[in-house]
Symmetry: C2
Subunit: 129 residues, 2 copies
DNA sequence: ATGGATTTTGACAACCGTTTTCATTTCAGC
DNA sequence: GCTGAAATGAAAACGGTTGTCAAAATCCAT
């Protein structure tokens, strides 16, 4: 029960940045894979549940997935142009979130932290003419 | 062109936490307001564009809005149970994000930081019986 | 291998929040 | 009051995601 899921996982691993379910599906079909959209959604969900891929929501509500190198907690620096992503650790931020939470009597603190920017190669070609 | 928008804004101000467009709509209809769902969506968008309300996406892709006290940059500590929200500042986090970005050659850095937890009053009534 | 139970798959339909459309209403300025 | 521009809202369209269900693949004891 793992062939398709692995195929999805592999496809994701080949991508630089975050990809939507439909991206993955299109990509797989392009390469001749015989798989249905429903199965891609299910595989991505399973992988996300199992912590093998990271998920985040784009501004327009799409879920995008990424097979990350580390399985430890980390955040992302994402190029808003090309989607290239680097994984970053932020121990200070973790502590800050924990502190802010408990300071106000909140428990079971979690947090979402994502950093967006324009990467070097995307901002370089400023010379359009 | 501002009556409806103000009504939406007021409704939002009366709420403790983040509310969805449909929440706001339902709330307004409950109180007898004569307004359409479309207009609520439009008003919320306009308010968000104008920076008068903050927006964020729930895990299930819904946009939720909040009329925040400060108009300066801040983050949120949100109770995942009741939605109660405290506005928090985090200068250290701002600097961290900026640093992480430029460290990797990214420019025009932005970031999203939200902290979730269970607030004191929601975790207190552990006594169910 | 074989039959039968179980799981996985995927085409399609349903869902649901959101956006668009467009005819109607409201309103400012004359 | 009249006119044109902006706002409104009911209903339809949209798009990503999830549910349905019958067919296909897989497992397993025989």
């Amino acid at each position: 029960m793992t062939t398709r899921r692995d195929a999805v996982h592999d496809t994701l691993r080949r991508s630089e940045g975050f990809r939507s379910a439909q991206d993955v599906y299109a990509e797989m079909r392009l390469h001749g894979a015989k798989i249905g959209l429903t199965t891609v959604y299910r595989a991505l969900q399973a992988l996300a549940d199992g912590g093998q891929v990271d998920v985040l929501r784009t501004d327009d509500g799409e879920s995008v997935y990424r097979a990350c190198a580390t399985d430890t907690h980390h955040h992302h620096l994402v190029c808003r142009r090309c989607g290239r992503t680097v994984e970053v650790a932020g121990p200070a931020v973790e502590r800050w979130a924990e502190m802010v939470g408990s300071e106000h009597g909140f428990t079971e603190i979690t947090h979402t932290v994502e950093v967006f920017g324009t990467c070097a190669s995307c901002s370089a070609p400023a010379k359009v003419g």
